[in-house]
Protein backbone atom coordinates (compact mmCIF):
# COMPACT_ATOMS: atom_id res chain seq x y z
CA UNK A 1 0.00 0.00 0.00
CA UNK A 2 1.54 3.27 -0.89
CA UNK A 3 0.82 6.82 -1.81
CA UNK A 4 2.37 7.78 -5.11
CA UNK A 5 3.24 11.36 -6.00
CA UNK A 6 4.04 12.28 -9.59
CA UNK A 7 6.28 15.32 -9.41
CA UNK A 8 9.09 16.35 -7.10
CA UNK A 9 8.75 20.05 -6.43
CA UNK A 10 7.08 22.21 -3.83
CA UNK A 11 3.57 20.68 -4.02
CA UNK A 12 5.03 17.22 -3.49
CA UNK A 13 6.93 18.47 -0.42
CA UNK A 14 3.78 20.09 0.97
CA UNK A 15 1.95 16.80 0.58
CA UNK A 16 4.73 14.68 2.10
CA UNK A 17 5.09 16.96 5.14
CA UNK A 18 1.33 16.96 5.70
CA UNK A 19 1.00 13.19 5.37
CA UNK A 20 3.87 12.63 7.77
CA UNK A 21 2.26 14.87 10.40
CA UNK A 22 -0.56 12.39 10.52
CA UNK A 23 0.78 9.05 9.32
CA UNK A 24 4.38 8.00 9.88
CA UNK A 25 3.89 4.51 8.47
CA UNK A 26 2.30 4.68 5.05
CA UNK A 27 4.77 4.25 2.20
CA UNK A 28 5.24 7.23 -0.07
CA UNK A 29 6.81 7.07 -3.52
CA UNK A 30 7.82 10.14 -5.51
CA UNK A 31 8.36 9.83 -9.26
CA UNK A 32 10.13 12.64 -11.11
CA UNK A 33 11.48 13.01 -14.62
CA UNK A 34 14.27 15.23 -13.27
CA UNK A 35 17.36 13.65 -11.75
CA UNK A 36 17.58 16.14 -8.90
CA UNK A 37 16.57 15.99 -5.27
CA UNK A 38 13.83 18.61 -4.74
CA UNK A 39 15.16 22.06 -5.52
CA UNK A 40 13.81 25.63 -5.57
CA UNK A 41 12.70 26.22 -9.12
CA UNK A 42 12.76 30.03 -8.83
CA UNK A 43 16.45 29.88 -7.89
CA UNK A 44 17.46 28.87 -11.40
CA UNK A 45 17.78 32.58 -12.20
CA UNK A 46 20.12 33.10 -9.23
CA UNK A 47 22.02 30.04 -10.38
CA UNK A 48 22.37 31.33 -13.90
CA UNK A 49 23.41 34.74 -12.58
CA UNK A 50 26.18 33.05 -10.65
CA UNK A 51 24.78 34.08 -7.26
CA UNK A 52 23.81 30.65 -5.96
CA UNK A 53 25.79 27.44 -6.28
CA UNK A 54 24.15 24.16 -7.24
CA UNK A 55 24.63 22.68 -3.78
CA UNK A 56 22.59 25.54 -2.30
CA UNK A 57 19.63 25.04 -4.64
CA UNK A 58 17.93 22.39 -2.54
CA UNK A 59 14.44 23.28 -1.26
CA UNK A 60 14.96 20.63 1.37
CA UNK A 61 18.07 18.71 2.37
CA UNK A 62 18.90 15.67 0.21
CA UNK A 63 18.21 13.61 3.35
CA UNK A 64 14.60 14.77 3.20
CA UNK A 65 13.44 11.60 1.50
CA UNK A 66 15.10 9.26 3.92
CA UNK A 67 14.03 11.26 6.96
CA UNK A 68 10.43 11.13 5.77
CA UNK A 69 10.38 7.53 4.59
CA UNK A 70 9.93 8.47 0.95
CA UNK A 71 11.16 6.37 -1.96
CA UNK A 72 12.38 8.74 -4.66
CA UNK A 73 12.36 7.43 -8.22
CA UNK A 74 14.29 10.15 -10.02
CA UNK A 75 14.84 10.43 -13.72
CA UNK A 76 11.72 8.42 -14.53
CA UNK A 77 8.75 9.81 -16.44
CA UNK A 78 5.11 8.74 -15.95
CA UNK A 79 3.49 8.14 -19.32
CA UNK A 80 0.00 6.99 -18.32
CA UNK A 81 -2.36 6.51 -15.37
CA UNK A 82 -4.63 3.47 -15.09
CA UNK A 83 -7.38 4.39 -12.64
CA UNK A 84 -9.05 0.98 -12.90
CA UNK A 85 -5.89 -0.91 -11.96
CA UNK A 86 -4.81 1.93 -9.68
CA UNK A 87 -1.34 2.06 -11.13
CA UNK A 88 0.88 4.38 -13.14
CA UNK A 89 3.05 3.39 -16.07
CA UNK A 90 6.62 4.67 -16.45
CA UNK A 91 8.58 5.36 -19.62
CA UNK A 92 10.74 2.30 -18.96
CA UNK A 93 7.70 0.03 -18.85
CA UNK A 94 7.54 -0.29 -15.05
CA UNK A 95 4.16 -0.15 -13.39
CA UNK A 96 3.80 1.37 -9.93
CA UNK A 97 0.67 0.63 -7.93
CA UNK A 98 -0.94 3.26 -5.75
CA UNK A 99 -3.47 3.37 -2.95
CA UNK A 100 -3.78 7.08 -3.54
CA UNK A 101 -2.23 9.17 -6.25
CA UNK A 102 -1.19 12.83 -6.26
CA UNK A 103 -0.46 14.51 -9.58
CA UNK A 104 1.97 17.37 -8.92
CA UNK A 105 3.67 17.68 -12.25
CA UNK A 106 3.74 21.45 -12.35
CA UNK A 107 3.86 23.47 -15.51
CA UNK A 108 5.45 23.25 -18.88
CA UNK A 109 6.52 26.22 -21.01
CA UNK A 110 4.03 27.52 -23.50
CA UNK A 111 5.72 27.73 -26.89
CA UNK A 112 3.49 29.06 -29.68
CA UNK A 113 4.11 27.74 -33.16
CA UNK A 114 6.58 29.86 -35.18
CA UNK A 115 9.25 29.36 -37.78
CA UNK A 116 12.68 28.52 -36.49
CA UNK A 117 11.79 26.77 -33.23
CA UNK A 118 13.81 23.75 -34.24
CA UNK A 119 17.05 25.73 -34.45
CA UNK A 120 19.84 25.18 -31.95
CA UNK A 121 19.94 27.67 -29.03
CA UNK A 122 16.18 28.18 -28.84
CA UNK A 123 15.40 27.55 -25.20
CA UNK A 124 12.88 27.77 -22.43
CA UNK A 125 13.76 28.61 -18.84
CA UNK A 126 11.84 26.79 -16.14
CA UNK A 127 14.03 24.03 -14.78
CA UNK A 128 17.55 23.37 -13.58
CA UNK A 129 18.67 21.70 -16.75
CA UNK A 130 17.53 24.74 -18.75
CA UNK A 131 19.77 26.93 -16.60
CA UNK A 132 22.71 24.56 -16.95
CA UNK A 133 22.14 24.39 -20.66
CA UNK A 134 22.30 28.16 -21.00
CA UNK A 135 25.28 28.35 -18.70
CA UNK A 136 27.23 26.01 -20.95
CA UNK A 137 26.52 28.27 -23.88
CA UNK A 138 27.57 31.47 -22.15
CA UNK A 139 30.96 31.83 -23.88
CA UNK A 140 29.19 31.90 -27.24
CA UNK A 141 26.46 34.34 -26.23
CA UNK A 142 26.84 38.01 -27.00
CA UNK A 143 23.22 39.00 -27.48
CA UNK A 144 20.16 37.04 -26.44
CA UNK A 145 16.54 37.80 -27.29
CA UNK A 146 13.96 36.93 -24.64
CA UNK A 147 10.38 36.57 -25.83
CA UNK A 148 7.98 37.70 -23.09
CA UNK A 149 8.44 40.24 -20.32
CA UNK A 150 6.70 38.31 -17.58
CA UNK A 151 8.43 37.29 -14.38
CA UNK A 152 10.36 34.42 -15.97
CA UNK A 153 11.47 36.42 -18.97
CA UNK A 154 12.68 39.38 -16.91
CA UNK A 155 14.51 37.18 -14.41
CA UNK A 156 16.22 35.38 -17.29
CA UNK A 157 17.18 38.73 -18.77
CA UNK A 158 18.60 39.95 -15.45
CA UNK A 159 20.60 36.77 -14.92
CA UNK A 160 22.13 36.90 -18.38
CA UNK A 161 22.91 40.57 -17.92
CA UNK A 162 24.81 39.76 -14.75
CA UNK A 163 26.88 37.27 -16.75
CA UNK A 164 27.83 39.98 -19.23
CA UNK A 165 25.40 39.12 -22.01
CA UNK A 166 23.47 41.82 -23.84
CA UNK A 167 19.73 41.16 -23.70
CA UNK A 168 16.69 42.39 -25.61
CA UNK A 169 13.25 41.55 -24.27
CA UNK A 170 10.32 41.56 -26.70
CA UNK A 171 6.85 41.90 -25.22
CA UNK A 172 3.47 41.89 -26.90
CA UNK A 173 1.70 44.12 -24.36
CA UNK A 174 2.40 47.82 -23.93
CA UNK A 175 4.27 47.26 -20.66
CA UNK A 176 6.40 44.72 -18.83
CA UNK A 177 4.84 42.23 -16.38
CA UNK A 178 1.49 43.01 -18.01
CA UNK A 179 -0.31 40.23 -16.20
CA UNK A 180 0.22 41.83 -12.80
CA UNK A 181 1.28 45.46 -13.31
CA UNK A 182 -0.50 48.49 -14.73
CA UNK A 183 1.20 51.12 -16.92
CA UNK A 184 2.46 53.24 -14.02
CA UNK A 185 4.13 50.36 -12.22
CA UNK A 186 5.27 48.79 -15.46
CA UNK A 187 6.98 52.04 -16.43
CA UNK A 188 9.02 52.13 -13.22
CA UNK A 189 10.18 48.54 -13.69
CA UNK A 190 10.97 49.08 -17.33
CA UNK A 191 12.92 52.18 -16.39
CA UNK A 192 15.06 50.17 -13.99
CA UNK A 193 15.78 47.53 -16.62
CA UNK A 194 16.67 50.04 -19.27
CA UNK A 195 18.83 52.03 -16.89
CA UNK A 196 20.82 48.87 -16.27
CA UNK A 197 21.27 48.36 -19.97
CA UNK A 198 18.62 45.80 -20.87
CA UNK A 199 16.82 46.60 -24.08
CA UNK A 200 13.01 46.43 -23.93
CA UNK A 201 10.72 46.37 -26.97
CA UNK A 202 7.01 46.51 -26.21
CA UNK A 203 3.91 46.09 -28.38
CA UNK A 204 5.74 43.70 -30.62
CA UNK A 205 6.58 40.03 -30.83
CA UNK A 206 8.91 37.61 -32.59
CA UNK A 207 7.40 36.25 -35.76
CA UNK A 208 10.27 34.15 -36.96
CA UNK A 209 13.56 32.86 -35.59
CA UNK A 210 16.41 32.97 -38.09
CA UNK A 211 19.35 30.63 -38.24
CA UNK A 212 22.75 30.27 -39.81
CA UNK A 213 23.98 27.42 -41.97
CA UNK A 214 25.08 25.51 -38.88
CA UNK A 215 21.46 25.35 -37.71
CA UNK A 216 22.09 27.79 -34.85
CA UNK A 217 20.11 30.93 -34.08
CA UNK A 218 21.56 34.09 -35.54
CA UNK A 219 18.65 36.50 -35.41
CA UNK A 220 14.92 37.13 -35.09
CA UNK A 221 12.32 38.88 -37.20
CA UNK A 222 9.72 40.92 -35.33
CA UNK A 223 6.11 41.43 -36.29
CA UNK A 224 6.78 45.13 -36.68
CA UNK A 225 9.22 44.23 -39.43
CA UNK A 226 12.37 44.97 -37.42
CA UNK A 227 15.10 42.33 -37.48
CA UNK A 228 17.60 41.74 -34.68
CA UNK A 229 20.86 39.84 -34.64
CA UNK A 230 21.23 37.46 -31.72
CA UNK A 231 22.89 34.23 -30.67
CA UNK A 232 20.06 32.61 -28.75
CA UNK A 233 16.35 32.95 -28.04
CA UNK A 234 14.62 32.22 -24.78
CA UNK A 235 10.90 31.65 -25.09
CA UNK A 236 9.34 32.94 -21.87
CA UNK A 237 5.79 33.69 -22.88
CA UNK A 238 4.14 31.62 -20.18
CA UNK A 239 3.69 28.31 -18.48
CA UNK A 240 0.76 25.92 -18.86
CA UNK A 241 -0.20 22.97 -16.69
CA UNK A 242 1.77 19.84 -17.45
CA UNK A 243 -1.34 17.66 -17.67
CA UNK A 244 -1.13 16.24 -21.16
CA UNK A 245 -0.14 12.75 -20.01
CA UNK A 246 -3.18 12.49 -17.77
CA UNK A 247 -5.85 13.28 -20.30
CA UNK A 248 -6.35 9.75 -21.53
CA UNK A 249 -6.85 8.38 -18.05
CA UNK A 250 -10.21 10.11 -17.68
CA UNK A 251 -8.99 12.76 -15.23
CA UNK A 252 -10.89 15.92 -16.00
CA UNK A 253 -8.59 18.45 -17.57
CA UNK A 254 -9.63 21.89 -18.74
CA UNK A 255 -6.76 24.32 -18.88
CA UNK A 256 -5.38 22.39 -15.93
CA UNK A 257 -6.45 19.39 -13.87
CA UNK A 258 -9.76 20.32 -12.24
CA UNK A 259 -9.69 19.95 -8.45
CA UNK A 260 -12.24 20.70 -5.72
CA UNK A 261 -11.53 22.38 -2.39
CA UNK A 262 -10.06 19.11 -1.07
CA UNK A 263 -7.70 18.80 -4.02
CA UNK A 264 -9.67 15.83 -5.36
CA UNK A 265 -9.95 15.23 -9.09
CA UNK A 266 -13.04 13.69 -10.58
CA UNK A 267 -11.56 10.20 -10.14
CA UNK A 268 -11.53 8.46 -6.75
CA UNK A 269 -8.22 8.40 -4.88
CA UNK A 270 -6.62 10.70 -7.41
CA UNK A 271 -5.59 14.16 -6.21
CA UNK A 272 -3.74 17.00 -7.86
CA UNK A 273 -1.86 19.98 -6.46
CA UNK A 274 0.32 22.85 -7.60
CA UNK A 275 0.87 24.50 -10.97
CA UNK A 276 -0.79 21.59 -12.80
CA UNK A 277 -4.20 22.31 -11.24
CA UNK A 278 -7.16 24.48 -12.09
CA UNK A 279 -8.45 25.00 -8.57
CA UNK A 280 -10.61 27.23 -6.38
CA UNK A 281 -9.93 30.94 -6.70
CA UNK A 282 -10.13 32.75 -3.37
CA UNK A 283 -11.15 36.16 -4.61
CA UNK A 284 -13.35 35.42 -7.60
CA UNK A 285 -14.86 32.06 -6.77
CA UNK A 286 -14.79 29.63 -9.68
CA UNK A 287 -11.63 27.82 -10.74
CA UNK A 288 -8.38 29.09 -12.12
CA UNK A 289 -4.87 27.99 -12.97
CA UNK A 290 -2.70 29.86 -10.49
CA UNK A 291 0.95 28.84 -10.79
CA UNK A 292 2.22 30.56 -7.64
CA UNK A 293 4.84 28.97 -5.34
CA UNK A 294 3.02 29.46 -1.99
CA UNK A 295 -0.25 28.19 -3.48
CA UNK A 296 1.51 25.07 -4.69
CA UNK A 297 2.84 24.31 -1.22
CA UNK A 298 -0.54 24.92 0.37
CA UNK A 299 -2.38 22.84 -2.20
CA UNK A 300 0.14 20.07 -1.67
CA UNK A 301 -0.40 20.32 2.08
CA UNK A 302 -4.19 20.15 1.71
CA UNK A 303 -3.95 17.23 -0.69
CA UNK A 304 -1.62 15.41 1.69
CA UNK A 305 -3.93 15.85 4.67
CA UNK A 306 -6.94 14.67 2.72
CA UNK A 307 -5.04 11.71 1.32
CA UNK A 308 -4.11 10.75 4.88
CA UNK A 309 -7.71 10.91 5.99
CA UNK A 310 -7.74 14.35 7.65
CA UNK A 311 -10.46 16.62 6.30
CA UNK A 312 -8.91 19.94 5.34
CA UNK A 313 -10.36 22.52 3.03
CA UNK A 314 -8.46 24.69 0.60
CA UNK A 315 -9.53 28.31 1.05
CA UNK A 316 -8.74 29.13 -2.52
CA UNK A 317 -5.67 30.37 -4.34
CA UNK A 318 -4.42 33.92 -3.86
CA UNK A 319 -2.02 35.22 -6.49
CA UNK A 320 1.08 36.68 -4.83
CA UNK A 321 4.32 37.59 -6.59
CA UNK A 322 7.59 38.96 -5.29
CA UNK A 323 10.43 39.80 -7.61
CA UNK A 324 13.39 42.16 -7.52
CA UNK A 325 14.92 43.44 -10.73
CA UNK A 326 18.12 45.45 -10.66
CA UNK A 327 17.50 46.52 -7.10
CA UNK A 328 13.85 47.45 -7.59
CA UNK A 329 11.54 45.22 -5.58
CA UNK A 330 8.05 44.56 -6.90
CA UNK A 331 5.26 42.74 -5.09
CA UNK A 332 1.72 42.04 -6.13
CA UNK A 333 -1.15 40.37 -4.31
CA UNK A 334 -4.66 39.42 -5.35
CA UNK A 335 -6.41 41.30 -8.14
CA UNK A 336 -3.55 43.57 -8.99
CA UNK A 337 -4.39 44.44 -12.51
CA UNK A 338 -8.13 44.25 -13.02
CA UNK A 339 -10.40 47.04 -13.96
CA UNK A 340 -14.03 46.52 -13.18
CA UNK A 341 -16.96 48.63 -12.06
CA UNK A 342 -17.12 47.01 -8.67
CA UNK A 343 -13.46 47.71 -7.97
CA UNK A 344 -12.03 50.92 -6.60
CA UNK A 345 -8.38 51.75 -7.14
CA UNK A 346 -6.25 53.89 -4.83
CA UNK A 347 -2.76 54.58 -6.04
CA UNK A 348 0.20 56.83 -5.45
CA UNK A 349 3.42 57.36 -7.36
CA UNK A 350 6.37 59.07 -5.73
CA UNK A 351 9.46 59.07 -7.87
CA UNK A 352 10.40 55.44 -8.25
CA UNK A 353 8.00 54.09 -5.66
CA UNK A 354 4.52 53.06 -6.49
CA UNK A 355 1.73 51.77 -4.33
CA UNK A 356 -1.70 50.61 -5.42
CA UNK A 357 -4.59 49.25 -3.39
CA UNK A 358 -7.65 47.71 -5.07
CA UNK A 359 -10.85 47.70 -3.06
CA UNK A 360 -14.09 45.86 -3.54
CA UNK A 361 -16.57 47.50 -1.22
CA UNK A 362 -14.89 47.77 2.14
CA UNK A 363 -12.34 45.03 1.51
CA UNK A 364 -8.95 45.03 -0.10
CA UNK A 365 -8.78 42.59 -2.98
CA UNK A 366 -5.54 43.58 -4.62
CA UNK A 367 -2.29 45.44 -4.10
CA UNK A 368 0.87 46.38 -5.98
CA UNK A 369 4.01 47.90 -4.49
CA UNK A 370 7.12 48.92 -6.36
CA UNK A 371 10.25 50.29 -4.73
CA UNK A 372 9.15 50.24 -1.12
CA UNK A 373 7.68 46.90 -0.23
CA UNK A 374 8.28 46.89 3.53
CA UNK A 375 5.64 45.01 5.49
CA UNK A 376 3.61 44.38 2.33
CA UNK A 377 2.25 41.31 4.07
CA UNK A 378 0.02 43.50 6.21
CA UNK A 379 -2.00 44.27 3.09
CA UNK A 380 -1.94 40.65 1.95
CA UNK A 381 -3.28 39.77 5.38
CA UNK A 382 -6.15 42.21 4.88
CA UNK A 383 -6.98 40.52 1.58
CA UNK A 384 -6.64 37.00 2.93
CA UNK A 385 -8.67 37.63 6.05
CA UNK A 386 -11.33 39.77 4.35
CA UNK A 387 -10.92 42.58 6.89
CA UNK A 388 -13.31 45.50 6.72
CA UNK A 389 -11.00 48.45 6.13
CA UNK A 390 -13.55 51.27 6.29
CA UNK A 391 -11.73 52.80 9.27
CA UNK A 392 -8.32 52.52 7.67
CA UNK A 393 -8.96 53.58 4.08
CA UNK A 394 -6.99 56.80 4.13
CA UNK A 395 -3.95 55.09 5.57
CA UNK A 396 -3.72 52.19 3.14
CA UNK A 397 -1.46 54.07 0.74
CA UNK A 398 0.90 55.24 3.46
CA UNK A 399 4.38 53.72 3.38
CA UNK A 400 4.30 53.38 7.15
CA UNK A 401 0.88 51.76 7.28
CA UNK A 402 0.90 49.34 10.16
CA UNK A 403 -0.97 47.68 12.97
CA UNK A 404 -1.13 51.09 14.63
CA UNK A 405 -3.76 51.98 12.03
CA UNK A 406 -5.96 49.03 12.93
CA UNK A 407 -8.79 49.37 15.46
CA UNK A 408 -7.38 48.34 18.85
CA UNK A 409 -9.49 45.22 19.30
CA UNK A 410 -8.70 43.92 15.82
CA UNK A 411 -5.00 44.48 16.29
CA UNK A 412 -5.00 42.72 19.65
CA UNK A 413 -6.90 39.78 18.22
CA UNK A 414 -4.46 39.33 15.36
CA UNK A 415 -1.47 39.60 17.67
CA UNK A 416 -2.95 37.20 20.17
CA UNK A 417 -2.97 39.67 23.05
CA UNK A 418 -6.66 40.18 23.61
Amino acid sequence: MSYVIIGNSVAAVGAIEAIRKVDKEIRITVISDEPYSVYSRPLISEYLAGQVKEDMMGYRDPSFYEKNGVTAMLGKRVTAIDPAKKSVKLDNGEEIAYAKLLIATGGTPFVPPMKGLELGRVMTFIKMDDAKHIEEMLPELKHVVVIGAGLIGLKAAESLHHRGVKVTVVELANRVMAAVLDTDAGAIVQGALEKAGVNIITEDTVEEILGDNMGLVNGVKLKSGEALDCDAVIVAIGVIPNAGFAKESGVEVNRGIIVDDHMRTNLPDIYAAGDVTEGPDYLNGGKRVMPIWPNAYIQGKIAGFNMAGVDREFEGGLAVNSIELFGVPVVTAGLSNTESDDLEVLSSVEGDTYRKIVLRGSMVVGAVMVGNIDRAGLITGLIRDRIDVSNMRDRLLANDFGYIDFPVELRKERLGVS
Binding site: L43, I298, V320, G377, Y403
Partner: protein, 144 residues
Protein backbone atom coordinates in the same frame (compact mmCIF):
# COMPACT_ATOMS: atom_id res chain seq x y z
CA UNK B 1 5.24 27.24 23.34
CA UNK B 2 6.26 30.52 24.86
CA UNK B 3 5.97 33.63 22.75
CA UNK B 4 6.59 37.32 23.30
CA UNK B 5 3.46 39.37 23.87
CA UNK B 6 3.34 43.17 24.04
CA UNK B 7 1.27 45.13 26.56
CA UNK B 8 0.60 48.29 24.64
CA UNK B 9 -0.92 50.00 27.69
CA UNK B 10 2.49 50.21 29.32
CA UNK B 11 4.75 50.53 26.28
CA UNK B 12 6.57 53.86 26.52
CA UNK B 13 7.91 53.90 22.96
CA UNK B 14 11.53 54.12 24.07
CA UNK B 15 12.65 51.48 21.53
CA UNK B 16 15.18 49.98 23.90
CA UNK B 17 13.86 46.61 22.74
CA UNK B 18 15.19 47.41 19.27
CA UNK B 19 18.56 48.48 20.72
CA UNK B 20 18.98 45.29 22.72
CA UNK B 21 17.71 43.05 19.93
CA UNK B 22 20.25 44.59 17.61
CA UNK B 23 22.97 44.04 20.19
CA UNK B 24 21.96 40.43 20.80
CA UNK B 25 22.10 39.74 17.07
CA UNK B 26 25.44 41.42 16.51
CA UNK B 27 28.81 39.73 16.17
CA UNK B 28 30.32 41.33 19.25
CA UNK B 29 27.19 41.33 21.48
CA UNK B 30 28.64 44.56 22.87
CA UNK B 31 26.13 47.38 22.68
CA UNK B 32 28.60 50.07 21.66
CA UNK B 33 30.47 48.01 19.10
CA UNK B 34 27.24 46.64 17.69
CA UNK B 35 25.97 50.13 17.01
CA UNK B 36 29.14 51.90 15.99
CA UNK B 37 31.72 49.44 14.78
CA UNK B 38 29.93 46.65 12.96
CA UNK B 39 29.22 46.99 9.26
CA UNK B 40 26.80 46.12 7.91
CA UNK B 41 24.88 47.15 10.98
CA UNK B 42 23.13 44.27 12.76
CA UNK B 43 19.37 44.40 12.41
CA UNK B 44 16.79 44.52 15.12
CA UNK B 45 14.07 41.92 14.59
CA UNK B 46 11.55 43.73 16.72
CA UNK B 47 9.85 46.82 15.42
CA UNK B 48 8.10 49.48 17.51
CA UNK B 49 5.02 51.02 15.96
CA UNK B 50 4.03 54.38 17.39
CA UNK B 51 1.37 57.00 17.07
CA UNK B 52 1.38 58.86 20.35
CA UNK B 53 0.22 57.99 22.88
CA UNK B 54 -0.13 54.45 21.52
CA UNK B 55 2.97 52.35 20.92
CA UNK B 56 3.88 48.68 20.98
CA UNK B 57 6.64 46.36 19.94
CA UNK B 58 5.99 43.82 17.23
CA UNK B 59 7.91 40.75 16.12
CA UNK B 60 7.39 37.38 14.46
CA UNK B 61 4.46 35.56 16.05
CA UNK B 62 5.89 32.10 15.34
CA UNK B 63 2.50 31.16 13.95
CA UNK B 64 1.13 27.65 14.21
CA UNK B 65 0.68 27.55 10.43
CA UNK B 66 3.20 30.12 9.24
CA UNK B 67 2.42 31.71 5.90
CA UNK B 68 6.11 32.55 5.50
CA UNK B 69 7.24 28.93 5.78
CA UNK B 70 4.72 27.87 3.18
CA UNK B 71 5.77 30.69 0.88
CA UNK B 72 9.56 30.56 1.25
CA UNK B 73 11.04 29.57 -2.08
CA UNK B 74 14.36 28.31 -0.78
CA UNK B 75 13.25 26.48 2.32
CA UNK B 76 15.20 28.97 4.48
CA UNK B 77 12.18 29.35 6.76
CA UNK B 78 11.11 26.24 8.63
CA UNK B 79 9.27 25.38 11.82
CA UNK B 80 11.32 23.39 14.33
CA UNK B 81 10.17 20.90 16.95
CA UNK B 82 9.84 23.54 19.64
CA UNK B 83 7.41 25.39 17.39
CA UNK B 84 9.74 28.26 16.58
CA UNK B 85 9.85 29.54 13.03
CA UNK B 86 13.54 29.37 12.22
CA UNK B 87 15.32 31.37 9.52
CA UNK B 88 18.45 29.87 7.96
CA UNK B 89 20.38 32.92 6.80
CA UNK B 90 22.66 30.90 4.58
CA UNK B 91 19.75 29.75 2.44
CA UNK B 92 18.00 33.12 2.27
CA UNK B 93 18.31 34.86 -1.11
CA UNK B 94 16.27 37.96 -0.34
CA UNK B 95 13.34 37.17 -2.60
CA UNK B 96 11.03 38.96 -0.13
CA UNK B 97 8.16 36.50 -0.61
CA UNK B 98 7.84 36.12 3.16
CA UNK B 99 7.69 39.92 3.47
CA UNK B 100 4.77 39.76 1.06
CA UNK B 101 2.80 37.05 2.86
CA UNK B 102 3.36 37.64 6.58
CA UNK B 103 0.08 39.19 7.81
CA UNK B 104 1.94 40.93 10.65
CA UNK B 105 4.66 42.42 8.47
CA UNK B 106 7.24 40.82 10.76
CA UNK B 107 10.15 39.89 8.46
CA UNK B 108 12.31 42.94 7.84
CA UNK B 109 14.43 43.48 4.79
CA UNK B 110 18.14 43.77 5.45
CA UNK B 111 19.09 45.68 2.34
CA UNK B 112 22.82 45.42 2.96
CA UNK B 113 22.96 41.68 3.43
CA UNK B 114 20.08 41.10 0.99
CA UNK B 115 18.29 38.78 3.37
CA UNK B 116 15.49 39.10 5.84
CA UNK B 117 15.85 39.47 9.57
CA UNK B 118 13.28 37.88 11.83
CA UNK B 119 12.80 37.25 15.51
CA UNK B 120 14.33 33.94 16.61
CA UNK B 121 13.23 34.13 20.28
CA UNK B 122 16.90 34.49 21.25
CA UNK B 123 17.89 30.81 21.32
CA UNK B 124 21.05 31.58 23.31
CA UNK B 125 19.13 33.18 26.15
CA UNK B 126 16.65 31.99 28.69
CA UNK B 127 14.51 35.06 28.13
CA UNK B 128 14.55 37.04 24.89
CA UNK B 129 16.61 40.22 25.14
CA UNK B 130 13.68 42.53 24.39
CA UNK B 131 11.58 41.08 27.20
CA UNK B 132 14.39 41.19 29.73
CA UNK B 133 15.48 44.73 28.98
CA UNK B 134 12.16 46.52 28.59
CA UNK B 135 12.28 49.22 31.27
CA UNK B 136 8.53 49.21 31.83
CA UNK B 137 7.77 45.47 31.68
CA UNK B 138 5.74 45.97 28.52
CA UNK B 139 6.86 42.67 26.99
CA UNK B 140 6.18 39.28 28.48
CA UNK B 141 7.44 35.85 27.47
CA UNK B 142 4.87 33.26 28.25
CA UNK B 143 2.67 30.50 27.00
CA UNK B 144 -0.92 31.40 26.15
Amino acid sequence: MKRVYAKEEVCIGCRLCEVYCRTEHSKSKNIIKAHKKEFPRPMARVLVEELRPVSFALQCRHCDEPACVEACITGALTKDESGRVVHDEAKCVGCWTCVLVCPHGAPQRDLERRKIAKCDLCPDRETPACVEMCPNEALVYEER
